[in-house]
C-alpha cells in the first residue's frame, strides 16, 4: 500500500484555508427567499390558533405557513430504526396542535431577507394554552403523548447468565449510583438548508448541512410525494456534525416544501440560539449499579438499572440507551450481567446520538465500577483492569449481550486490550506519574492521575456504496454516500482509491454526500464512514481496475499478465511503446464494447455490507490538578493508546482523537444543558453553555496499535468517536485520585465547580 498509511496532506485544505469553502450559508440563488421559524416558548402547550395575518402584511413577507397548510405532508416522520419494545413517536414538519418542547417549530415566515423574516416573525400571533410539563424522569409526570400515559417509551433488559445468583454468591457486593447530564454536539456551523424547485425540470435540489443527505431525500420523497429521481440532496462543505446533524429534522423537509409551494428558492440558516434550543441532545441517564467481585478484584456480576431521558420524541427509537446497555461491559470479561433501562419521555428536546452515542455513559459506569472495586479490594487500579480485560486469545469475544441492532450479540472482533492499556501506561510513565502525584499531595497540592479503557462500536451497516468512474479525459471521480463534516474523506478516500487504482490521490476526486452522484447511501455517524464507505470505495476501485485491465488487454491484444501499469498508463511489458491510458480506455468503453467482452462505461459501483460492527479500543491516562480554592480542574497531562485497526491517514486519525478528547473534556467539566422546572433552557447561549477553548485542552500524546479488523477489506475500524468515549471516566478517575482518601468520589458528570468543591477534602487547620 502506497498511500494508505500515509500522512497525506489534505485535498480539502486549499479551498478551506483561503475562504473558498462552500457551506450552506454561502449558497445564494437568484430570487432566493429567507425563512425564519416560530418556535414554541412553552415546554407543553396546546396550539390553539396560529394567525399569520399581521406577519403577511409586513413588507417583504411572501408567506406564513403553519400545520394546517401542510396537508398530507403533515404526517409524523418515520422512526429509524424501529424497535419492537418501542412506543415511539416522531415529530412532523410543524407542530400538530401541540407543542412538546420549548423550541418545537410551530410556524415559518418566508420573506425577502433574513432581517425582514425575523421582523415579521414577531408579528405571527400564536395562541397557546400552556399545559403542565414532564421535567423529571420520575413516574407520575404529565404525559408527553396521550397514548403513552406513563411516558415509558421503552423498557429493555439485556442479560448474560444469572446475575442475581452471581451477586448472592459473590464474596463482596457494592452498590453505586451514577449520573450523566445532557449535552449537545455543538458544531461550529449550525444547521441550514437551501432548497430550489425547478418546475421546468420537475427537480428539487436541496443543499443541507447534514450528515445524512440520502435519508433526507428519502424523507422528502415520502412526505412530499416525490420520486427519488426528482430530488437531489447535496451536503456541501459542512462545518461539523458530531450528531447534531444526524437525524432528519422537521426543517429538512419543511424548507423543501416551501420551495416547491412558493416556486422560489428558500434558504434557512439556524442561528446559534435556535441550535441551543432545538438541536438534538444526548447523555442524560441515571444509573443504579450493583457489582459483585472477589478479593483479587475480579468482577463476577454486574447489574445496572438505568433511566434514560429521551426527550419529547424518539426519531432514533431506542438506539442510545440500547448502546449504553449493550456496551456496558466494555473490554472486560464479566460472566454475569444484567443491563436494563427505561427510556422515558420528557417535554424536552429529543435525544438522539451525539459523538459517542450512549457509549460514554457505559464507559463512565464500568470504569467507575472498576475504580470502586480497586478501592474496595486495595488493589491498584490498572492491575484490576488487567485482571478483568478480555485477553487477545479470547478474541473474537462474545460479550453475551445482544447488540443494539439486535442482529446478534456484541462480538468484539479484534484488538489487544491488555497491550493497549500497557502501552498507555508506559507512554504516560504511569508509575512515575503516580509517585509524583503522591508527593505533590503530601505537600498539599491536589494532583491526581486517572486511567480508563474503552471499546468503541464502529462501522455499523447496513451498507455504503462506492462508485468510481473514469471519464473520457481520464479524470477519476469517486462517489460515496458517506459524508464529511471535517473527517477528511476527500483525502482519505482518495488515498484508498489511489492504492487500488495504481494512481495518486491527486488523480482522484472524491464527491461525498451528493445523491446526484450516487444513488444509494446512508451517511456519516457511528464512526462508520471510513469503515463502510471506505471499504465500498476500495471494492469499487478494485473492480474498476480489474475492468481496466481486461479492456487494456483487449485493446492492446495481449494477455492481462503481460500488462504493466505505470500511473495512468497500461503498457505491454515486452513492448512498452504499445500502451493505452485510462482516458483512452474510458473512450473505448464509451462506444461499442461487445467485441471487447465487457459492458460499456469505465465505471464500477460496489456495495459494502458489513457482516457485523467492528470494535476499536483504547486506553487513556490523564493527570489533573485541582485548585484547592476554586476547585477548578486543570488537565495537565494526557496520554492515549489507541487501536482502530489499519489507519488510512494517521494525521487524520490523530486529529479525530484530539477533537474527541476536547469534546470529552467539555462534557466532563464545562458543558451542561440545564432546564428549569418549566422546561425553559437556562444554558441558552455560549455565555452559559461553555465549550472548551484552547486554554482548556492540553496537548496529548497518541500511540497507535493496529490490530486489523477481520470484517472489511481494508482492516480498518472507526475512530471518529473514540477520543470522546473515555474522557469523563478518565477525568473522574484522576479527580478521585487528586482528592485522596479523605475526599469525595465523582459520581456525576458534568462536574460543576460547586459539586467539585463539595468533594474536596476538608481543609487542614490553618490553611486558607
Amino acid at each position: 500500500m502506497k498511500f494508505v498509511g500515509d500522512r497525506y496532506l489534505r485535498k480539502e485544505d486549499p479551498r478551506l484555508l483561503t475562504g473558498r469553502g462552500q457551506y450552506v450559508g454561502d449558497i445564494g440563488l437568484p430570487g432566493m427567499l429567507h425563512a425564519a421559524l416560530v418556535r414554541s416558548p412553552h415546554a407543553h402547550a396546546r396550539i390553539v390558533r396560529v394567525d399569520g395575518a399581521r406577519a403577511r402584511e409586513h413588507p417583504g413577507v411572501v408567506d406564513v405557513v403553519s400545520f394546517l397548510d401542510l396537508g398530507s405532508a403533515g404526517r409524523p416522520f418515520p422512526i429509524v430504526p424501529p424497535h419492537p419494545d418501542l412506543r415511539g413517536h416522531n415529530f412532523s414538519m410543524l407542530a400538530d396542535g401541540r407543542a412538546r418542547f420549548v423550541g418545537e417549530v410551530v410556524a415559518v415566515v418566508v420573506a425577502d431577507s433574513r432581517y425582514t423574516a425575523e421582523d415579521a416573525r414577531e408579528l405571527v400571533d400564536v395562541e397557546y394554552e400552556p399545559l403542565p410539563s414532564a421535567q423529571t424522569l420520575a413516574p407520575g409526570a404529565p404525559a408527553v403523548h396521550d397514548d403513552v400515559p406513563d411516558n415509558l417509551a421503552g423498557r429493555v433488559t439485556l442479560a448474560r447468565g444469572d446475575v442475581e445468583a452471581a451477586l448472592r454468591a459473590a464474596p463482596r457486593v457494592v452498590q453505586i449510583k451514577l449520573g450523566i447530564g445532557r449535552g449537545g454536539g455543538q458544531p461550529m456551523e449550525t444547521r441550514g438548508l437551501v432548497a430550489d424547485w425547478n418546475a421546468a425540470l420537475g427537480q428539487l435540489t436541496v443543499w443541507a448541512s447534514s450528515q445524512v443527505p440520502h435519508q433526507i431525500r428519502q424523507f422528502i420523497g415520502d412526505l412530499l410525494d416525490l420520486p427519488p429521481h426528482q430530488v437531489r440532496v447535496v451536503a456541501p462543505d459542512v462545518g461539523g456534525g458530531f450528531g447534531a446533524k444526524l437525524i432528519v429534522y422537521p426543517e429538512d423537509v419543511l424548507i423543501p416544501f416551501l420551495a416547491r409551494r412558493l416556486a422560489r428558492p428558500v434558504r434557512w440558516l439556524e442561528d446559534r440560539l435556535e441550535h441551543m434550543l432545538a438541536a438534538t441532545q444526548e447523555r442524560e441517564q441515571e444509573h443504579d449499579v450493583t457489582v459483585g467481585f472477589d478479593p483479587t478484584g475480579r468482577i463476577l456480576a454486574l447489574r445496572d438499572r438505568f433511566v434514560h431521558d429521551t426527550g419529547a420524541y424518539t426519531p432514533r427509537g431506542l438506539v442510545v440507551p440500547l448502546l449504553t446497555a449493550s456496551m456496558l461491559t466494555g473490554p472486560y470479561r464479566i460472566p454475569a450481567v444484567l443491563s436494563s433501562f427505561e427510556s422515558r419521555y420528557t417535554h424536552r428536546v429529543p435525544v438522539t446520538p451525539y459523538r459517542g452515542a450512549g457509549q460514554p455513559q457505559a464507559v463512565f459506569v464500568i470504569e467507575r465500577v472498576l475504580d470502586l472495586v480497586a478501592r474496595e479490594t486495595g488493589r491498584e487500579r490498572a492491575e484490576v483492569r488487567l485482571a478483568n480485560l478480555v485477553q487477545p486469545g479470547d478474541m473474537p469475544w462474545d460479550v453475551g449481550l445482544p447488540n443494539y441492532r439486535a442482529s446478534g450479540n456484541v462480538i468484539l472482533d479484534s484488538g489487544d486490550f491488555p497491550s493497549v492499556l500497557r502501552r498507555a501506561l508506559e507512554s504516560a510513565g504511569y508509575d512515575a506519574l503516580r509517585a509524583e502525584a503522591a508527593a505533590a499531595r503530601a505537600q498539599g497540592r491536589l494532583v491526581g492521575v486517572g486511567l480508563a479503557c474503552y471499546v468503541e462500536l464502529t462501522g455499523v451497516g447496513p451498507f455504503e456504496a462506492g462508485r468510481v468512474r473514469v471519464d473520457a479525459r481520464g479524470r477519476i471521480a469517486v462517489f460515496t454516500g458517506a459524508t464529511t463534516q471535517g473527517q477528511s474523506l476527500e483525502t482519505t478516500f482518495a488515498q484508498v482509491a489511489a492504492d487500488e487504482l495504481g494512481l495518486t490521490p491527486d488523480d482522484v476526486s472524491v464527491i461525498a454526500g451528493d445523491t446526484g452522484g450516487i444513488e444509494h447511501g446512508i451517511g456519516s455517524f457511528a464512526s462508520r464512514a471510513a469503515v463502510v464507505g471506505g471499504s465500498a470505495v476500495a471494492l469499487a476501485a478494485r473492480e474498476l481496475r480489474a475492468k481496466a485491465l481486461v479492456l487494456a488487454a483487449r485493446v492492446l491484444g495481449v494477455a492481462e499478465t503481460e500488462l504493466q501499469q505505470t500511473g495512468a498508463v497500461f503498457a505491454d511489458r515486452r513492448r512498452l511503446e504499445r500502451r493505452v491510458t485510462f482516458a483512452e480506455l474510458a473512450r473505448a468503453a464509451a462506444g461499442a464494447t461487445a467485441a471487447l467482452g465487457v459492458e460499456p462505461g469505465l465505471e464500477s459501483t460496489r456495495f459494502f455490507q458489513p457482516a457485523d460492527m467492528t470494535y476499536s479500543s483504547g486506553a487513556h491516562v490523564a493527570r489533573v490538578e485541582i485548585d484547592p480554592l476554586s476547585a477548578r480542574v486543570t488537565v495537565t497531562g494526557y496520554w492515549i493508546s489507541h487501536d482502530s485497526g489499519r489507519l488510512i491517514n494517521p494525521m487524520v486519525v490523530e486529529g479525530q482523537i484530539q477533537g474527541g478528547v476536547a469534546l470529552g473534556i467539555g462534557s466532563a467539566l464545562l458543558e451542561e444543558i440545564v432546564y428549569d422546572q418549566d422546561g425553559q433552557l437556562l444554558a441558552g447561549s455560549y455565555m452559559d453553555y461553555l465549550l472548551p477553548t484552547a486554554t482548556d485542552v492540553p496537548s496529548m500524546d497518541i500511540d497507535h496499535l493496529e490490530t486489523l479488523s477481520p470484517l472489511n477489506p481494508l482492516g480498518i475500524k472507526g475512530v471518529g468517536e473514540s477520543g470522546a468515549l473515555p474522557v469523563p471516566a478518565v477525568l473522574a478517575s484522576a479527580i478521585d485520585d487528586a482528592l485522596g482518601a479523605r475526599g469525595g468520589r465523582v459520581t456525576r458528570m458534568p462536574l460543576g465547580l460547586a459539586r467539585l468543591l463539595a468533594l474536596l477534602p476538608p481543609p487542614d487547620a490553618g490553611s486558607p
Binding site: 496532506l9 483561503t18 475562504g19 462552500q22 476536547a662
Partner: protein, 161 residues
C-alpha cells in the same frame, strides 16, 4: 440607508446599507466574501473575526456603517496575489490544523494580527490569544503548533506580512 466606503483586502468597495446590517453580512452577502463565517452571532465563538484597521474584531458585533472609512482584511486577502499561501495558511495545512474549516478563517485572522505584534510567542501565549476562538473539531493542539511554526517561519523570513 447609509453610504459606506471601505477598503477590503486592499480594494476600494462601497455599498448602501441599512444601519443594522452587520459587517459580517456586508462582507458575505454584499461583497460575496463568504470566507468569514458566523458561528454564534453573539460574540462568543470568534469564527467571524476579521481585521478592522489592523485589529482583530468580531464582525458579528460591528455594524457595516461603523466600518465606513476603515481598512478591513478578511481571510480571502491572506494569500498573495499570485495565490501563494501566507505562512500561516501553509503552517495550518502542514499541521492538519483544520478539519471542517468553519472556525479556520477566524483562527487565521486572529493569529495574523497577533503575530504582527508578537514575533516569538510561547505555546501558552498562543493558547491564550486563541481562547476567544472556538473549535469543535481539532482539540486545538494542531492549531497551536501551526501558530508556533508560522511564527518561526515569519521570523526566519525577516518580517511579518
Amino acid at each position: 440607508m447609509h453610504a459606506v466606503r471601505l477598503t477590503v483586502n486592499g480594494a476600494e468597495r462601497q455599498a448602501r446599507v441599512m444601519p443594522r446590517l452587520l459587517l459580517a453580512d456586508l462582507l458575505r452577502e454584499e461583497f460575496g466574501l463568504t470566507g468569514t463565517h458566523l458561528g454564534c452571532e453573539h460574540g462568543a465563538c470568534g469564527a467571524c473575526t476579521v481585521l478592522v484597521d489592523g485589529e482583530p474584531v468580531r464582525s458579528c458585533l460591528l455594524f457595516a456603517v461603523q466600518a465606513n472609512g476603515c481598512r478591513v482584511d478578511t481571510v480571502e486577502g491572506l494569500a498573495g496575489a499570485d495565490g501563494a499561501l501566507h505562512p500561516l495558511q501553509e503552517a495550518f495545512r502542514a499541521r492538519h490544523a483544520l478539519q471542517c474549516g468553519f472556525c479556520t478563517p477566524g483562527m487565521l485572522m486572529t493569529l495574523t494580527a497577533y503575530l504582527r505584534e508578537h514575533s516569538s510567542p510561547t505555546e501558552s501565549d498562543i493558547r491564550e490569544i486563541l481562547s476567544g476562538n472556538l473549535c469543535r473539531c481539532t482539540g486545538y493542539q494542531n492549531i497551536v503548533q501551526a501558530g508556533l511554526n508560522a511564527a518561526a517561519a515569519l521570523r526566519a523570513a525577516g518580517a511579518p506580512r
